[in-house]
Amino acid sequence: MNTTFRIGSSGLKYHQKNLDVIGNNIANVNTYGFKTERMSFSSQLYTSMQGNPRPAQDAERTGEPLIEGQDIMTGHGVRTASVDTLFEQGAPYSTDNPMDYAIVGEGMFGLLTGSGEKRYTRTGNFIISMEGNKPFLKTTQGDYVTDTKGKKIQVPYKSGGEIDFSKLSPSIGIFVFPNKYALEQAGGNTYVETIQSGKAIPADGKKANRPEILQSFLEGSSVDISRQMVDLIVAQKAFQFSAKVVQVGDEVEQIVNSLR
């Protein structure tokens, strides 16, 4: 009896989480540099239903060897195995801002936070921020953009007071990872490296090639809205059916309670 409830409620809980992931994807359909996420499920622990003691008794009677594992197992619903990021290229959008950069291919911009942590991102809408009288290249969230050696970039100016893009653009560091799928989301469209992702490799032509960088472009969100809408409907149905399972469990309890 309780098992039916547990199965249904596990379905409600985890399909709700799936709706959250899909909803987040849909909400970020216009976020530059956003990468679609998906949830992968796994079925929950199975326990023996103990409905049939036959295998052991049969083996005794007939003298044939007992075959293990022929017991009847019931599962306890579903759970989340992982939430994975799908790193698909987003379409580059032309802006008229020369401080916007888009990466076409593998790689990420390197960032340094105020507290000295290394982050990485695909979103290239940079700004110049003055510290004292030195201009640094930063993101809109206040992280410093780094060069291939991981150092903050001081924006070079020409004698006339204009920004020297011919020196600035090549100095922006691009990093690639052995396994980009294992990068962890750190919020604000940034990622951190993990053990599984491997250490960041500077794409300076020695160990990895520098990908194409487009100036005055921004990489659009990689969310495919039609696919996400279909996934949303499917997830909603899955949630509904789990609710039905809970309902049936409830009806059973009701019937049992009204037996006498």
Partner: protein
């Protein structure tokens, strides 16, 4: 009368177990590589008959020999190994099988079978499932795949640029009745003494990289099954109530002094 209680009671318990199995299928309609389960039931008098007179079953009829005590109980949980649909994700670590067969993963010292191909790597860069079980190659060893640039061809051979990384072990059982579900939701080969219990798939099955296999649960069918089981449960409980009433009459009114 008392017998009637057991009959109705066994019906209720068995229908509940059917509801659990169907509920499990329904909540796993989104789980990659999930194979739906069906609970087969049997009646006790038939069962007793088979056990007592194994060779003579045709000559005996249940009612003559045993009596009309019919207990229904869950007999077998069978898995439907029908191919699920493939979904493209273009993620390098996602794999699906098109055709019969299973991936082989290691958990402790056991080798388990699964169709779930949504792989990732663990902290030692071995290819594994998100729940930690390592995927094995044809030599029965885990595979190190630290770079996501690798390619897997339709035979399961993994290459990364020019270096070969081995081949995924894909096997299928010669007899599907000899594999059963484990606690973690995988399948395991029960026929451990038979060397030929699991065989290679020899070009009949394709490994598709960048895809995962959807659950093969048919929601419409499962809804119908759960409604059926729920109503059967209700009917059994009604029967039990009626038997209770009759017994009450017998106990209180008949033979009153």
């Amino acid at each position: 009368m008392v017998r009637g209680f057991y009959t109705a009671g066994s019906g209720m318990l068995t229908q509940q177990k059917i509801m659990n199995t169907v509920g499990q299928n329904m909540t796993n309609s989104q789980t990659a590589g999930y194979k739906k389960g069906t609970l087969l039931t049997n009646t006790f008098d038939q069962e007793l008959l088979i056990r007592l007179e194994k060779d003579n079953v045709d000559n005996l009829t249940a009612n003559n020999e045993i009596g009309a005590s019919i207990i229904r109980y869950p007999d077998k949980l069978i898995a439907d190994h029908e191919q699920g649909g493939l979904d493209e994700t273009s993620r390098a670590y996602d794999m699906a099988l098109l055709g019969e067969g299973f991936f082989v993963v290691q958990k402790g010292d056991k080798q388990l079978l699964t169709r779930n191909g949504q792989f990732t790597i663990d902290t030692e860069t071995y290819l594994c499932l998100p729940t930690g079980e390592r995927v094995l190659n044809t030599s029965g060893q885990p595979i190190k795949l630290p770079n996501d640039t690798f390619k897997v061809d339709v035979n399961g051979t993994i290459t990364d640029g020019r270096s070969k990384k081995g081949s995924l072990m894909i096997v299928k059982p010669t007899n599907y009745e000899m594999i059963s579900r484990t606690e973690e939701g995988f399948f395991i080969n029960d026929d451990v003494n038979n060397e030929n219990a699991l065989v290679g798939v020899q070009g009949e099955t394709a490994v598709m990289q960048g895809y995962y296999e959807r659950s093969n649960v048919d929601i419409g069918q499962e809804m119908t099954s759960i409604m059926e089981a729920s109503r059967a449960f209700q009917s059994c409980s009604q029967t039990m109530k009626m038997i209770d009433q009759i017994t009450l009459k017998t106990v209180t009114e008949l033979g009153k002094v």
